[in-house]
């Protein structure tokens, strides 16, 4: 047993435990990103950093073993500011968007990419429900709105923006029974405060949002990988066919892990603003496994290596591995394999362990 002090309280702990283990069982909360109980520790993110006052050094609590005489500070000013810096640094290379540009600028904060996905999947019922729950006076608003969403639509840079307003109008006017729509319109007529004063994030809850920074022409093409090859484009949405076609041209700019991202949570917890100039690591690329629907987006990866460690544990080959060194190091399929052939059976587990949206499942 070793005797250590955590935040000025004495603890006895068996040798071989990490500071994180001991702190956790004592009820302290230390944030982590690259750590997962049961997997070998790696200490890459440095978010769990603590200070040992006995040596005046900073150590990652997830792998630092308790040692006699340690005097650990887990929540002091110095520690928190280093943690904040670690998250800021991670965000500086995080060339990714938590939310799609269209959703961000929508005065009503409507989940446009989800609407498109539902339409593309021909799930009209769900699309109607979404429209009603998020945008109950929507019909009128979209007719009045100058279309900030379409202006922000990334597809615009490729050919032309997705006809978002018409898609929404199609849902509300053509599919929803007229009377229902009328009721709703009257009911919310006076609440219609958003449009006149320009794009205010009216109904979107204020969450941290990461941005992409400068986007190169070549990088733009990466989103098209997620779209179907040839789709029927039409500005006017006259029937279900044209709606589906138009919705399929959506590039799904939103992050699949928007509501399940440890990095985003931590950014909010530490009230961090997204850094302005993003560091360009390697150009944005998206790798899609056409057999399992696994998608890897390199710029969302924080190189924590959780997936690699899990793959080693799962013993499924071929799997994911680290490649290169330093700032350009990245998670990848092995040099000798195609991305299509990796993780044939266990990709769900690997996706689940990713703390960000770097590894996710295409719908």
């Amino acid at each position: 047993m070793v005797k250590i002090k955590i935040n000025n309280i004495y603890f006895e702990a068996p040798e071989g435990l990490t500071i994180l283990d001991v702190a956790k069982s004592a009820g302290f909360n230390i944030p982590t990103l690259c750590h997962k109980d049961g997997l070998p520790h790696y200490s890459s993110c440095m978010v769990c950093i603590v200070k040992d006052n006995s040596t005046n050094g900073f150590i990652p609590s997830c792998s630092a073993l308790v040692q006699e005489g340690m005097d650990i500070d887990i929540s002091g000013e110095e520690v928190t500011s280093l943690r904040r810096k670690a998250i800021e640094l991670l965000l500086a290379e995080h060339r990714a968007e938590c939310e799609a540009p269209c959703k961000i600028v929508c005065p009503a904060g409507y989940n446009i990419p989800l609407m498109n996905r539902l339409l593309a999947a021909q799930d009209f019922e769900a699309a109607i429900k979404l429209s009603m729950s998020e945008l109950n006076s929507a019909g009128i608003m979209c007719t009045k709105c100058p279309g900030y969403c379409e202006n922000a639509c990334r597809r615009k840079k490729v050919d032309m923006p997705v006809s978002i307003r018409n898609l929404q109008l199609f849902i509300s006017q053509r599919i929803i029974p007229d009377n229902l729509f009328q009721d709703m319109a009257e009911q919310h007529h006076n609440n219609d405060i958003v449009i006149e004063n320009g794009p205010k994030k009216g109904k979107l809850p204020k969450r941290f949002t990461s941005h992409i920074g400068r986007l190169e022409e070549t990088e733009l093409q990466e989103w098209l990988k997620e779209c179907k090859g040839k789709v029927l484009r039409s500005r006017e949405i006259l029937n279900k066919n044209s709606a589906v076609g138009e919705a399929e041209s959506c590039m799904h700019c939103d992050c699949r892990a928007a509501d399940d991202c440890r990095l985003r949570d931590l950014a909010e917890e530490f009230s961090i603003k997204d850094p302005r100039g993003k560091l360009v690591n390697s150009p944005i690329t998206k790798k899609i496994n056409h057999n399992t629907g696994l998608i890897f987006e390199n710029t969302k990866c924080i190189k924590c290596g959780l997936c690699v460690r899990l793959c080693e544990e799962l013993k499924e080959e071929p799997a994911l591995c680290f490649m290169h060194r330093g700032f350009v190091s990245i998670i990848s399929e092995p040099l000798t394999e195609e991305f299509d052939n990796i993780l044939k059976n266990r990709s769900k587990e690997v996706i689940a362990i990713c703390p960000t949206g770097a590894l996710s499942q295409m719908k």
Partner: protein, 794 residues
């Protein structure tokens, strides 16, 4: 390298055959991956994907492991390289002497762009290497095995044609004639620096002259003498035991030097010699100016100064011992310490001596060696290891290379003692692949030791068995960190991890592993023989003994020096180094490479001591000492080191991976005059975070060059925010102009690679700044020194 390797497609069958042959030799375990990749690349010139696949197929190596490892180490390439590789040294000493201009010049002449580092005809590839370890000959370029020193950007074409015409044969010359009755012994340095200085040509010239006059002499190649900037170095010891040293010897002087000391044997030849001598006197006045006629005392004054301020422990008998000779090492007292250990001392007593001596790790951090040994000794395990850390990757440092090349037996002895003291059975030399000569010498030493019973079962009949093998590193600076080094030995990516557990408790293959630096181990025999007290008597309160430094940069007499701890920087610069070169102003000294910092001239009375150097913001580091003069820009130096650490970071932890990138970005914009004062504050804060938050020593110390820069030269940083580079070094802030001294000789115009200087004979030339690439060629060739560098902004 096989012939015809420059063809892009290699037959799949051939690849398979090569892989199988290699694997047959190396074995199939996962820890063999680096060795297998090295051998395959040696044979195929690169690593085709078919080869990787086949390796995975026939060994225990997984595709994930082979991908991770082969992309981590910079030695491996996945696309074919040119037939010949031009290695441009990017070490500190070369950097301050203009290596970036050399690199640009080669790329320009060979029309190589950055996307593919190979010329269109696949003849040459360019590679920038961290350090070739010939710092005193900076800037240095190596084409295949041939080294060129003191290279100028204007010489690139000359060098390429020289290389192509020389037939690039590899010289293999050895000493001969072991008969006792000789007139003189000729000692010639064959360390890497000397070889780069042309000592091999000198050696072959001596052989010719010996034939010609039938001289009764013995040729003896010796290791590094330490006077590396004066190479090649020749020493003649006559029968009467008179010792004469010659520096900077050129080929045509050899005959003269030899005949001055040694008389030809036969009468005929003697007459011939005299006639030749007479003719020479008449037809050339060369002799009057050659250094042979300079009075001996004057010539040797510098040499003596250089050598007298030093204390040789690790480098004992430098320039005397033949590095390959087991007998000579024994005659000079070699292996006495080892036998003393076997006969008189038990494990505890040895560790006590090392502890009492106050010896601290010479790799940089200065951890007490005795303490490390004790941890390893008391950890119980059937299998323990001793690793000699020879992964010296620090640009501007070459001590370990020299020690391994010149005193391989001493390091081996130190290692066996360490093994005996800690109860280990196996030793491993981890040596950078960039040091082929060191590998050869150590390999030979090990072979000899096995033959003489110094290694293997029951060493010297003591009952203690010890085996040593060599592991060649694959090009990753971070592997100098002991935990990363162990991962590398195990065939993994060389990423460090947090200690404890210390390698001395749980290291290679999970067993207690003692990792000691080359210099540390080579001090061990001396300490055992001479006693802890004697060692303690040298040095300061907390830093005992001596330290080997590679003295380079803008110094008159650079080289490899071993000095007592406590000597001041000023003594080193002024006494040993004979002051700053070309009479310029001593500005600062960079100690400790990318982990260290620049100590200004005003603080030159700082003694060499672990704590003192750390207090100054620098670090002992592995022992690179680069002298800077007033033409060196501190922002540029910081940028240089950050570029290095950024490139060498393993990429594991956030602070080092992203922090160094951001630091580099800010410092780059500073050097381009695009940063504001607030950026300097941001840089400083970032440095502090990276220092605190990084996982290993590489990251923790990477901000040191910037922090010392800000501490001692803040005004220079601030000047850059105004677009002004006081040292006139930062390319974006300077321009070249022609002064009125121009006599219109047109040399600059002819030499300009981009035609930025119109051809105007007998008129003052003008430089078109729109076209000028600041390659420095014009300034080098101008006979009137009429080209000046000025600041764009004021």
């Amino acid at each position: 390298m096989t012939e015809g390797c420059n063809c892009q497609q290699t037959d799949v069958d051939e690849i398979t055959a090569v892989v199988e042959e290699v694997v047959e030799m190396t074995g199939r375990g996962p820890e063999k991956v680096i060795l297998i990749l090295q051998e395959v690349q040696k044979k195929l010139n690169y690593l085709p994907s078919e080869a990787l696949k086949h390796i995975c197929k026939i060994t225990e190596i997984t595709p994930e492991q082979i991908s991770g490892v082969s992309t981590f180490y910079s030695q491996f390439r996945h696309i074919p390289a040119g037939k010949h590789t031009i290695k441009i040294c990017a070490g500190t000493a070369c950097h301050v002497k203009g290596a970036p201009l050399i690199s640009d010049a080669f790329k320009r002449v060979l029309k190589i762009d950055d996307t593919r580092n190979t010329s269109a005809d696949n003849l040459f590839s360019i590679e920038e290497v961290a350090c070739l370890g010939c710092c005193t000959l900076a800037p240095v370029v190596q084409i295949d095995g041939k080294t060129y020193g003191h290279v100028k950007p204007t010489q690139t074409e000359e060098i390429i044609s020289d290389f192509l015409n020389s037939g690039h044969k590899s010289d293999s010359l050895h000493g001969d004639d072991n008969s006792k009755d000789i007139d003189a012994e000729i000692r010639i340095g064959l360390g890497s620096c000397c070889a780069a200085g042309g000592s091999k040509e000198i050696l072959s010239e001596i052989v010719d002259i010996k034939e010609k006059y039938d001289l009764n002499i013995r040729l003896k190649p010796v290791g590094c003498v330490g006077v590396c900037n004066q190479t090649p170095l020749l020493e003649i010891v006559t029968r009467e035991n008179i010792n004469s040293r010659y520096t900077n010897v050129s080929k045509h002087q050899v005959e003269e030097i030899l005949l001055k000391h040694i008389r030809p044997r036969t009468i005929n030849k003697r007459i011939k010699h005299n006639i030749y001598d007479l003719v020479d006197t008449f037809i050339s006045d060369d002799k009057l100016t050659s250094q042979i006629n300079i009075p001996g005392e004057l010539r040797e004054k510098y040499l003596n100064n250089f050598l007298n301020y030093q204390v040789h422990l690790a480098t004992k008998n430098s320039g005397v011992l033949s590095p390959d000779s087991y007998e000579e090492y024994c005659l000079s007292g070699g292996f006495e310490a080892l036998n003393h250990c076997f006969n008189r001392l038990d494990q505890n007593a040895i560790v006590d001596i090392i502890t009492e001596s106050g010896l601290r790790g010479r790799g940089g951090a200065g951890f007490p060696t005795g303490k490390k040994w004790r941890i390893s000794m008391v950890t119980s395990s059937d299998l323990k290891y001793v690793v000699c850390n020879g992964d010296e990757g620090d640009p501007g440092a070459f001590m370990d290379r020299m020690l391994l090349e010149s005193f391989p037996y001493r390091v081996v002895e130190g290692m066996i003692i360490a093994g005996y003291a800690t109860g280990s059975k196996e030793g491993i030399f981890y040596i950078r692949a960039e040091y082929p000569l060191a590998v050869t010498r150590v390999r030979n030493a090990l072979k000899q030791c096995y033959e003489k019973g110094i290694l293997g079962e029951s060493v010297s009949g003591s009952g203690f068995s010890f085996n040593i093998k060599i592991f060649e590193g694959a090009g990753a600076f971070v592997c100098g960190e002991e935990t990363a080094l162990i991962y590398s030995l195990e065939g993994k990516r060389g990423t460090p991890h947090l200690r404890p557990p210390y390698p001395a408790v749980k290291g290679f293959r999970g067993q207690p592993t003692l990792v000691n630096n080359v210099e540390t181990l080579s001090l061990v025999p001396w300490i055992i023989t001479n006693g802890a007290e004697t060692f303690r008597s040298i040095g300061t309160e907390k830093s005992k003994g001596t330290k080997v430094f590679a003295l380079a940069g803008k110094i008159s007499k650079g080289g490899l020096i071993e000095v007592p701890m406590g000597i001041t920087i000023r003594e080193i610069v002024e006494k040993i180094g004979d002051g700053v070169a070309e009479g310029r102003k001593f500005k600062a000294v960079q100690i400790g490479g990318p982990s260290g910092g620049c100590i200004p001239a005003s603080e030159a009375d700082t003694p060499i001591d672990y704590e003192e150097l750390t207090r100054m913001g620098a670090m002992m580091g592995s022992g690179g000492m680069v002298i800077l003069d007033d033409t060196d820009c501190m922002v540029d130096m910081a940028k240089y080191f950050l570029t290095f650490t950024h490139k060498q970071s393993c990429g594991k932890c956030t602070f080092c991976r992203i922090g160094t990138t951001q630091m580099l970005n800010i410092i780059t914009s500073l050097s381009e005059g695009k940063a504001a004062l607030s950026d300097i504050d941001e840089l400083e804060n970032l440095c502090k975070s990276v220092k605190d938050g990084s996982l290993c020593g590489l990251g923790k110390t990477s901000p040191n060059p910037v922090l010392t820069g800000l501490r001692y030269f803040r005004d220079e940083y601030e000047a850059h925010t105004r677009g002004f580079c006081p040292a006139k070094k930062c390319r974006n802030l300077i321009r070249y102009v022609v002064t009125d001294d121009c006599n219109g000789c047109t040399k600059c115009s002819q030499e300009c690679p981009v035609n930025a200087i119109p051809f105007n004979p007998y008129e003052k030339h003008e430089i078109d700044n729109q076209l000028c690439t600041k390659c420095d060629n014009c300034r080098i060739v101008c006979p009137e020194n009429a080209i000046e560098i000025i600041n764009i902004n004021g």
